[in-house]
């Protein structure tokens, strides 16, 4: 209504000279007129000039006196025309504020005789204050001295009134179309989409968050890694077996029974089921033999190998526990059939009885790759590592001699991290020892090259996560889990 009034008026008139008057003439709230003028101005329908007017208005106190009379008059009227009234009695007749101000003002005006008893000095008074207040209330002007005295008594204050003079703006039209926010089916059916004016989008804000499902970042990286392994002709090992015997986890790998990794503070041993009930006995004998007194050119460890130790169940500390069983099966197969080379990989959970901190959990995922073939060399191992890691975007590698009970030579793999500006350890590798392979039944010329790394480490680097607990486990922040991007290793 206000908008129609303004635009309609301007159609035939040059100017609305005063929005306040304009509002008053039409009985529209001025605040509403101001809102519409502001909005029209924003779309350049109108040009405006500010008008500022200052007027005196009554304070709450002023309003009260305008209605009830000034305190001095009230006091005067409370004093009897004849005689006097005691101060205490007079105080009882008036409320305390009125009494106090009334006394001061009436005294000042010499209307009454102040003292213990109060009596009139004049018989008739005029309530000039009330009159003045009423005049101001009616918007009339009064002279400056009166203003000053009322202002001094805080009965009036100056109020600034803001309004506009309004003229047509560059986009003026007698009627404003409401900008559309969206294209609707009705627009299409009615065909009025041609006339629609759209409200501009705000592209500095993001769209609303999508409702969708999400995959876990570790699994995204795992999927890519599995693909890379398949590109390199590696076959996935069935690693869905967390409970393992010490035999397959350690002994078969020529890891001596006194090795510190077999201590209870590194490995989760089991209360239930505490021991393994079944092992391939012939092979166990071979393993015992090679641990105790060697063979195949080895001196062995020269200690008394205990079956009880081998029988102890544990949660596997590495997926190599599965590799040892896969290799054993391959060697058994090769006893009856021609030996066929194999490439195996796995990415699965392993368990370490370690203290949990920013970079360590009691569970993590191990990535493992191994090649079993004739005539493999250290050079092949370096070559396959180069091939594998360059597909992960790590092409600058170097290798550090290291110790690992079941590989010889053993190499730690370092990659130069451009972001960190330094060499970081990314994995471990080596050639399996003959003391591990020969008891399985492999011919002498068959060797195995293998490497391993954790899935968490590259994932943390990739997704910029510096606390492993933010990535894996129940303390993760679901919001962060939902924001992780695609894993593009091997693609970009």
């Amino acid at each position: 209504m206000a908008e129609e009034a303004i635009l309609g008026y301007l159609e035939n008139h040059e100017e609305i000279s005063d929005s306040g008057e304009f509002a008053a003439e039409r009985g529209i709230d001025h605040a509403e007129i101001v809102n519409v003028v502001k909005s029209l101005h924003g779309f350049r329908f109108v040009d405006t000039q500010d008008i500022k007017r200052e007027t005196w208005v009554l304070t709450e106190e002023g309003k009260k006196y305008a209605a009830e009379g000034s305190p001095e008059v009230q006091l005067f009227l409370a004093v009897p025309a004849e005689g006097s009234i005691s101060k205490d009695e007079l105080q009882k007749k008036l409320d305390s504020g009125i009494f106090k101000i009334g006394c001061t003002q009436a005294g000042k005006n010499k209307w009454v005789e102040m003292g213990k008893h109060i009596s009139r000095k004049v018989q008739h008074v005029e309530d000039k204050v009330k009159d003045l207040l009423l005049r101001i209330q009616d918007g009339k002007t009064i002279d400056k001295d009166d203003i000053n005295s009322l202002k001094a008594r805080k009965l009036i204050v100056l109020q600034t009134w803001k309004g506009y003079s309004v003229r047509k703006g560059p986009n003026y039209a007698p009627k404003r179309k409401k900008p559309a926010t969206d294209l609707t089916r009705e627009n299409l059916q009615r065909g009025d989409w041609k006339e629609l004016e759209f409200k501009e989008y705000n592209f500095s804000a993001k769209g609303p968050p999508p409702e969708c499902g999400h995959l876990h970042p570790l699994n995204k990286v795992k999927d890519r890694l599995k693909d890379i392994f398949r590109q390199l002709n590696f076959e996935e090992m069935p690693t869905n077996r967390y409970v393992e015997s010490s035999f397959w986890n350690f002994d078969a790998l020529f890891q001596p029974q006194q090795h510190p990794a077999r201590d209870s503070h590194d490995t989760f041993f089991l209360q239930v089921p505490s021991t393994t009930r079944q092992l391939p006995e012939d092979y166990v004998e071979q393993v015992k033999e090679v641990h105790e007194s060697g063979g195949y050119g080895s001196r062995g460890y020269g200690y008394e190998w205990k079956r009880d130790e081998a029988n102890k169940n544990l949660l596997r500390t590495h997926t190599t526990a599965i590799s040892s069983q896969m290799l054993y099966a391959l060697a058994q197969h090769a006893k009856v059939h021609p030996f066929s080379p194999k490439r195996y990989f796995s990415i699965d959970r392993v368990f370490r009885n370690e203290a949990v901190d920013r970079t360590h959990l009691a569970e993590f995922h191990q990535i493992e790759g191994l090649v079993c073939d004739r005539g493999l060399t250290l050079s092949h191992l370096i070559g396959i590592l180069e091939d594998f890691f360059s597909r992960l975007g790590m092409s600058k590698l170097r290798f550090k001699p290291a110790y690992n009970p079941y590989t010889e030579p053993s190499m730690e793999i370092f990659s130069y991290h451009e972001g960190f500006g330094k060499w970081v350890e990314i994995g471990n590798s080596g050639m399996f020892r003959p003391e591990m392979l020969r008891p399985m039944g492999f011919p002498e010329d068959v060797s195995v090259i293998a490497w391993g790394l954790s899935l968490e480490r590259p994932t943390m680097i990739l997704y910029g996560i510096d606390n492993i607990r933010d990535l894996f486990g129940h303390k993760v922040d679901l919001t962060l889990m939902k924001r992780n991007p695609l894993c593009l290793i091997g693609i970009r």
């Binding site: 995959l215 989760f268 089921p273 959990l361």
Partner: protein
Amino acid sequence: MPTVNVVRDRLFAALGRTYTQEEFEDLCFSFGIELDDVTTDEAISRKERHEEEKANENEEIIYKIEVPANRYDLLCLEGLAQALRIFNKQDKTPTYTVANISKESMHKMQVKPETSSIRPYIVCAVLRDITFDEASYNSFIDLQDKLHQNICRRRTLVAIGTHDLDTLQGPFTYEALPPQDINFIPLKQVKKYRADELMEFYREHDLKLKKFLHIIENSPVFPVLYDSNRTVLSLPPIINGAHSAITLKTKNVFIECTATDLTKAKIVLNTMVTTFSAYCKRKFEVEPVEVIYSDGKAYVYPDLSSYNMEVPLSYITGSIGVSFRAEEVTSLLNRMQLQAEQSVSDADQCNINVSIPPSRSDVLHPCDVMEDVAIAYGYNNIPKRKLPSLKPLALNQLEDLIRVEVAMNGFTEVLTWILCSYRENFSMLNKKDDGSTAVIVGNPRSSDFEAVRTSLMPGALKIVGHNKDHPKPIKIFEVGDVVHLDESKDVGAANRRLLAALYCGTNSGFELIHSLVDRVMEVMGTPFVPVGDNTGYYIQCSDAPEFLQGRQASIIYKGKRIGIFGIVHPEVLNNFDVPDPCSFLELDIESFL
């Protein structure tokens, strides 16, 4: 692939035995041809007329046989029968000869220079003293038709004319004349036409011949063949003259092939004469014709010499993957119409000397010989050699597919720990440990690692408990392994792979979890069936302590309970410090394999 229609009983007569359809199909299959359809002439014509009459029992059975596109020698019954008889070791490959006659007594074909602008080549031959019966006569006509359709590319490359030689008088001329100057009675007509009028006539009245007119109609001269009496033999590639038409009684057949492609013309001529010289008095002998071009160059056709090829035995055995001895290879090749013998070259390399008859124009390279060895040996007798390949892990692949599917249903994947506290695995789930389910760690460093989970529920609830501020609803899932004690396993325990999904919101979201169950079953191709039906899945009330009474159900898949879903028990929620209602699903995905 071209299809040849042969009368079954005639074919069997030619093969010297009858076959059941299955036996015959097997024979075709191993030779590399295919019995496409079994029908009758009457059935074919009924089909053409769109009639549905009943078949007459006396109708002659027709075999429609599909032959390889490069085996022109198999385009008629005679060729097929001969190839199969040789394949069956009933016959030896014949030796085709050109009759030894003097140049003077040889028929001559003079080629006029004008032909070079329209159809420059011609090859000819005579089948002397031939005896047709109705079937062989029809076959002779049909073969020309098949050749025209296939190798001759609808007469554009080669056109065949066959004539009763006894009605003609050599020497012959192959000319190219303006159409107005050519006048003759064409085959199947009684009056003379001028060539240009004839073209118009065929355009109007002959659906079959109409298709060939374009080959010459825009040329100022038309190719035409005359005998010495100016009798028109033919107006190639459109029509023969009526005068020299062959009949059942024809004894001597003059064959001419005019062409734009000389190699194909020779193949066509050889195919015609090698196949039908079998009906001549002097079997497999063909009388030559001399073709003399205007520049004086003269050629004698047909060229029935064999093409010789030395093929190393190692090439054959190496390509097929069977270590044949040389004698085996030669005898196998003999079954494929290829004369072969071990060549006596140097000691290191054993070669097979292969003589390729004129009927086998498809043999270009030793690889064609090698293929014939393999066919004769039988593709299905060749041992299988496997290339290295990778065995997939079905469970992991299924897991990956299901994970993506559940994420597509709007759930967010989580990965939780396999180890949990003893209480989380039992009492906090309102469960009692009877000692028969969970793997228990002997030396845990903290209470977080006391037991191996037997359910994915604690992990999911712990996530919700740690994400209280996350906007609701929370929809999470996990596919992961649990471990159960298992007496039958060497270590006494075994993993199982489960799918878990959890909904947490201001209400329980039970329907949403229910619909996820249905969706998983749908993507597994499992129908929803009535209770008790073991062909699909159904849902049945359950009574598990971790779920609210009356708000939970088992999932029965093919008669086996594979999962459970329901509203999580409020006490359990409280135990895990979860203030909002949750519904939870747990499903054993290994059961789908």
